[in-house]
Amino acid sequence: AKLMIAMMPKSKGNAYFISCKHGADRAAKELGFELLFDGPTDSNAAKQNEIVENWITLGVDVITVAAENKQGISTALRKAQKQGIKVITFDADALPDARSFFVNQATPQGIASGLMDEAARLCGAEGEFAIISATLTAGNQREWLKYIDERLAEKYPKMKLVAVRPCDDLKDKAQSEATALMSANPRLKLLMAICSPGVPGAAEAVKQAGKTGQVKVIGLGLPSENRRYVHEGVTDSVMLWKTEDLGYLTIYAAAAVARDELKPGATSFKAGSLGTFEIKGDNILLGQPFIFNRSNIDQFDF
């Protein structure tokens, strides 16, 4: 029978993961697999567990997961492994013994320093900036914030993080928060949004405040959602790895694992049309995050 690969994002409504799915779909088509793509509608560790259970029920061949929470998901993943289902993680890792490979798009350090460096470059390494995050409690956001703080202390002592405000993954709330941040901090030079709805929200706020160029906007987000603002010069750059490639690579890796073509100890891996990727330990590395700006954003359609 056709192999069946299941893919779980942290939350499936998120544009980031939808774009992953596009790549995954492409890979599945090339390889002739059936692809299941399901996840919680909001980021929720308990619901991820339930969905893994469902896939165990169905008896899929490979499960690929972006874990909302390391501990939370690992028990269920081990159970899947016990049943002979292969598990790999992408985007966010589970515990090492609960999966065979992790498709690593970028380390949290990489993301954090990438963002911080870009921010410093735009501000001339001095001045105030503020961050808009998804929710207060989301695990990956906390991790990024931690490394951003570290990078800041280490390399950019003249920059000052004045506030971190959550937007609950709501674009409209991000806009309100950004508006308030700008008026409360008149010397604010830059807004950094580390969740994808936050970037267009912040950009809209800056645009409406008439502070285009005065307050810079950067963040983690998709080209498609930000293209308009990048062209208008409101958003300076959006950082992201090529999410489609992440999905594509994940599915290729999953297929290889399922066919026993990819075994522990391998040092490189060839994924279809994307070419060869380096493997470090059990991490398959996607490569550096990509910075989209006015010059290159039109080349990407995700």
């Binding site: 499936k12 409504g13 207060l136 405000r165 674009k171 409209d172 309100s176 508006t179 700008m182």
Partner: protein, 312 residues
């Protein structure tokens, strides 16, 4: 003995917050950010007017947030297909009115408790939208934003619409017979029936009305930015219910008015930007919101107790 104690106390609380801001963070008072803040709250204000009516008629609607999402996405898709805004607006209002009519039919027609009915429709609408839209943003054509006007004109149009609606509701509820019927039904539906009012119709129409208002609000939100997110409006129901009850509308129906609810909404809407201006860490925000809701009702409760002694 003042019937409007709660309205006054909320307004005083709002005044206090504004005074504190004037003293500690005068940067709060800048024309453009304030206009922006008010514009962002304009759709909420519209939904709040509807919610005030619903609660005065002794019902509740916790599906407004989901209705708002459905109308937003519906209107967004229509606009994306090239419908002009003059057609999108009535379509969104019809959509909302339809959803409201469904609630109203279950509540007024079949006499089911509104809190449970709207709990069910809230979940169903939200999940149905997730199923269809899978979370994807809808990109809107350029001519939708600010009704195709300039930003400032657009903002003033929105604020003006919301405020005139508030005025209209205030006038309607005080000086038009049908508005007083809403109070009568909320106070005692059986007495209203005996007085020749048809309480079921009043209830039904109130739900239709709030649905239509939600559609209007969704459109008012739509024009504010070039894309719309399906999650939009989640949590809106709690925000407007909190505003309405903090503003002195009795949850048991029949008492209160839109002015108090307006003050309540402004108070709650001020908290977040005020905290930002005072440089308070974000993780205090929810706790402070909760404290404000509690303080507003506790003040009223203490007064009632002082007035009535042990009366029940």
């Amino acid at each position: 003995m003042n019937r409007y104690f709660r309205e006054i106390s909320v307004t005083v609380a709002l005044g206090l917050v504004l005074l504190v801001m004037a003293a500690c963070a005068p940067s709060f008072y800048q024309a453009q950010p304030l206009l922006s803040l008010i514009t962002r709250e304009a759709p909420t204000l519209v939904v709040m007017c509807g919610m005030a009516l619903i609660i005065i008629s002794r019902q509740i609607d916790i599906s407004v947030g989901s209705q708002f999402s459905v109308c937003s996405i519906g209107a967004g898709l229509l606009a994306a297909r090239g419908w002009p805004l003059v057609a999108v607006l009535p379509a969104a209002m019809m959509m909302g009115a339809g959803l409201g009519a469904f609630n109203g039919w279950l509540i007024a027609g079949l006499r089911l408790p509104s809190i449970v009915v709207t709990l069910a429709t809230m979940v169903m609408l939200r999940q149905g939208l997730n199923l269809l839209q899978q979370g994807a943003f809808v990109n809107l054509p350029d001519n939708v934003q600010w009704f195709g006007l300039s930003q400032t004109t657009g903002q003033w149009t929105l604020v003006g619409t919301a405020l005139s609606l508030l005025l209209g509701c205030g006038f309607f509820m005080r000086h038009v017979a049908a508005g007083r019927w809403v109070y009568a039904v909320g106070t005692d539906a059986e007495a209203a029936r005996l007085a020749g009012i048809r309480p079921q119709w009043v209830t039904f129409l109130v739900f239709v009305f709030v649905g239509a208002l939600t559609g209007l609000a969704a459109t008012m939100n739509l024009v504010q930015s070039p894309q719309i997110q399906p999650l939009v409006g989640s949590g809106l129901e709690l925000k407007v219910i909190a505003a309405v009850v903090v503003g002195g509308v009795a949850i048991s129906g029949g008492r209160g008015n839109v002015w108090g609810a307006f003050a309540g909404l402004l108070l709650l809407a001020c908290v977040s930007p005020a905290l930002t201006h005072l440089h308070v860490e974000a993780y205090w925000e929810k706790a402070i919101q909760g404290m404000i809701i509690l303080l507003a009702v506790v003040a009223d409760g203490l007064r009632q107790r002082g007035l009535k002694g042990g009366h029940g």
